[in-house]
Symmetry: C2
Subunit: 251 residues, 2 copies
Amino acid sequence: MAPEIRVIGLTGLPEVRPGDDLAALIIKTAEDQGAGIEAGDVVVVTQKVVSKAEGRVVVLADVTPSPFAEDLARRTDKDPRLVELILRESRRIVRQEGSVLITETKHGFVCANAGVDASNAGGEGYVSLLPEDPDRSAAAIHSALRERLGVEAAVVVTDTFGRPWREGHTNVAVGVAGMSPFVDYVGQADPDGYLLRVSTMAAADELAAAAELVMGKLSRVPVAIVRGFRYERGCGAARDMVRPPERDLFR
Amino acid sequence: MAPEIRVIGLTGLPEVRPGDDLAALIIKTAEDQGAGIEAGDVVVVTQKVVSKAEGRVVVLADVTPSPFAEDLARRTDKDPRLVELILRESRRIVRQEGSVLITETKHGFVCANAGVDASNAGGEGYVSLLPEDPDRSAAAIHSALRERLGVEAAVVVTDTFGRPWREGHTNVAVGVAGMSPFVDYVGQADPDGYLLRVSTMAAADELAAAAELVMGKLSRVPVAIVRGFRYERGCGAARDMVRPPERDLFR
């Protein structure tokens, strides 16, 4: 049978507030929409609603920038309070040129502005931070789906990152639970019998990308269900997707 | 209505040979499978079958390596004939460390081994090169779909690239026709009224990633149809996705 996957965007999730039971909101929204959540689904959740539920939205007016943040803000033409938050979320500045500020977050992700972002954060003056531990966030939703629905469904928490060499951003996985983030072909033979050597696909990132096609940025579709993708169940985490710096040629 | 896309893998495409009419094979396979190709679809085609149809498969035994290729092969522990082909396909070596050889291809893509790849190329001793002009390859399929089916369907030609900072490969677009490769949110307001500043999504890469979820590497699914994604029709090319070197902080 021909392989087919469906990517179903969930609409109607209520505005998420600190302390909300995000899993419960997702379950109810999926049911209201008639999609439900089934065993083997991958539930893809944008970082924004996870951060909101976890209270990781900051009012810029409450932030006091350090002298270093003030200085860096001048050089990058950014709000000093935003730069202060970026620095707090980072363990290293990877590149700074013009208004571009690329850092390594405390999770190890390399991205612009440490994932601190004002879009879809609640309006002017609000910014969202990445979840403290997005793998833990994903695991909490994964457990809740199992406990409340009796369903084994993987969970991917996503954010939108730029990348070198190519224009445009793509959605990537910052949190994973219930699946390996990879599909590993190393040592397997292609249909011609050729042994594959270096093909490990970042399936969690491809799921994040697929979900973004229905999520968009303007349409309040913060959750998508990917149905029909055959993934390797089990333990796995987005932190495994961070290339160790010593094996990275571009830091 | 909730947004939903379907990603339909095409099975049963015959083994592609040099000079084959790839568009005809895709049309027939889609019809045989009952999926067809509809207006607004995105037809995602892996580079491998495009290269095969265009005669871009090379028998390694026919390649004579230059002295520089011989030397680089020793340092990278690669077949000198493979290195010779990589150099011919490249305009610059971006990084070389251990067995990793990352170059900028003549198209401007930055990737390992200039896209020269032995997997799914016909067995031991064969390698495939990227199409000479993958945008032109995509445009040819796009035109053929319009002429023969009367259908406006975008086409994305894909390859699998690694990337800095993150483990695993993802599928990306190396050729695009019939659509903008981007979804541009710059200057639009999010649901809270916040003006988006830097959000240009690389939709063609996300389509490539979504398609890979049904393609895999071992299963002879070289074509997928993405149905239900609302893209901006019109001209567009994967070459527009290459970040100009002067704006790139990682070359």
